[in-house]
């Protein structure tokens, strides 16, 4: 700790500056503090220097903010609209895929998958009634915007009829499929009768 001759026995500018910047060791700090306690002039110096430092920091911070600020509104909005456009495009793609799938795997198609014969019959019936070309050819709902309302109703009626026919044919198939099973107990009983006869023959041989 040195006192400058420039200011009598006051601490020099370096000591006061280092005190303000917490750069002194404890002993030096206490020396300066003891002087500041009794010297209004040095307290004023330290307070003013501190005030100037704070003002400089504020100015520097403001300059830094200005430097980091974007150049135009375009740069500001670029951060917003690019992700928004990406999200919107993804959403649109998702919706179109969903609609496409729902068209392919709609309720009629499910029925058709469950009852392929019925769908074929329905398609055949629709074709026979001449209700819709598209429906007859592709087994799909027509997307023709010119399709008249009456045609659509007729198509629905035809489809209902086709469902009923499909149900009947399914029942018939079921009957056809079930009949061998129905015969199986009798077959089993015949076989069993044969076995009994063979057993009886063996017994008679004995």
């Amino acid at each position: 700790m040195t006192a400058t001759s420039q200011h009598g026995f006051h601490p020099d500018a370096e000591s006061l500056s280092a005190f303000s910047e917490q750069a002194l060791n404890e002993r030096e700090r206490m020396e300066v503090l003891a002087h500041l306690a009794v010297c209004g002039r040095c307290r004023q110096v330290v307070a003013l220097a501190r005030e100037a430092a704070d003002a400089g920091e504020v100015t520097a911070a403001a300059r830094l903010r200005k430097t980091n600020a974007p150049d135009s509104w375009w740069k500001q909005w670029r951060l917003v609209w690019v992700p928004t456009a990406v999200v919107a495009a993804f959403a649109a793609a998702s919706i179109s895929v969903y609609i496409e799938r729902s068209d392919r795997h709609g309720p009629d198609t499910k029925i058709a998958e469950q009852n392929p014969d019925a769908e074929c019959n329905a398609a055949f019936g629709a074709h026979a009634n001449g209700a819709s070309k598209g429906r007859a050819s592709g087994c799909r709902r027509s997307r023709d915007p010119a399709l008249a309302y009456g045609e659509a109703r007729a198509l629905r009626r035809t489809r209902a009829t086709a469902r009923a026919g499909a149900a009947r044919s399914c029942c018939a198939n079921a009957v056809r499929v079930r009949s061998p099973r129905a015969q199986s107990p009798s077959t089993w009983s015949c076989a069993s009768a044969g076995s009994h006869a063979r057993a009886a023959t063996d017994v008679s041989r004995r």
């Binding site: 700790m1 040195t2 006192a3 400058t4 420039q6 200011h7 009598g8 026995f9 006051h10 601490p11 020099d12 500018a13 370096e14 000591s15 006061l16 500056s17 280092a18 303000s20 910047e21 917490q22 750069a23 002194l24 060791n25 002993r27 030096e28 206490m30 020396e31 503090l33 003891a34 002087h35 500041l36 306690a37 009794v38 010297c39 209004g40 002039r41 307290r43 004023q44 110096v45 330290v46 307070a47 003013l48 220097a49 501190r50 005030e51 100037a52 430092a53 704070d54 003002a55 400089g56 100015t59």
Partner: protein
Amino acid sequence: MAPTESAGSADETGIPSGTGAPDCVLDSALADELWLGCDAARWGLTRDEFEQILLDAGTAQNFGLPEATTATRSQEKTFFRGLCVADLALARACARGNERAWEHFLAVYRQPLTRAAIAITGSETLGRDLADQLYAELYGLSVRDGQRRCPLLSYRGRGSLMGWLRTTLAQRHVDHYRRTRREEPIEELDAPAPDPLSQTPARELSLLEQAIEQAVSSRDAEERFLLAAYYLDEQTLLEIGRVLGVHEATVSRRLHRATGQIRKQILKNLQRNGMSRRAAQEAMGADPRDLEVNLKKLLQNSQSEAFQEQAAS
């Protein structure tokens, strides 16, 4: 144009010869580290000159230790590492008149120096004048005894160069203001008239004044600084906190504790001087306008020993 660089006297070069302690040698590894870190070669300083600058800075301040103490190697290292070596090298190079150093100084410090001066004076015109005046001195335009004097030579690397510049500006402004202003004894002008209906006896008032003086003067330096800055200078808690490097809430707490302890100490002093506790408490309730205690004078009378010694020497 910067002052010409010349191999003049020791004062001109800013490297006083023979001032370092003969037994003080800078550790080679540490010197390498500091030399590489401060970019001193850019300002035209040689390695030997740089070491000499560091040694001078250390010995002039006895490495931050009391004068009678001899620093150990470890203490010397700690001191050197705590220096703002880059700022010190730049300041000495500027003092020598190195052109590149001055260009760098101008680029980095000129504008902040002006802004600091404006902030200190509170006036753009006065601030610019103050900054220009200091800059002219730093540039070495003032000549005494045929030699150019540069205030940068008094910078020794404790704290930043910008902090040193700001404090130097503040010193000059305060000294100029104190010299030129017409000081009026505000205390005497504003001193209230004594209350004629005062009920406190004169003896008790005298004892109270003594007790207050004893209590205030017995506080440590930090508490006296807090009292002076807050009550005399009317600084805010935030301003005091920034000077001390603590939060304003800490300043408030310390201030509250200091006033509380002073109050207790005054009570004790009154009781020690023969008053009963009740009488002492009643005396504490005396009208402050009846007291002739000047806190400013009281604090100034308790002058710190360190600077009293320096003033005497």
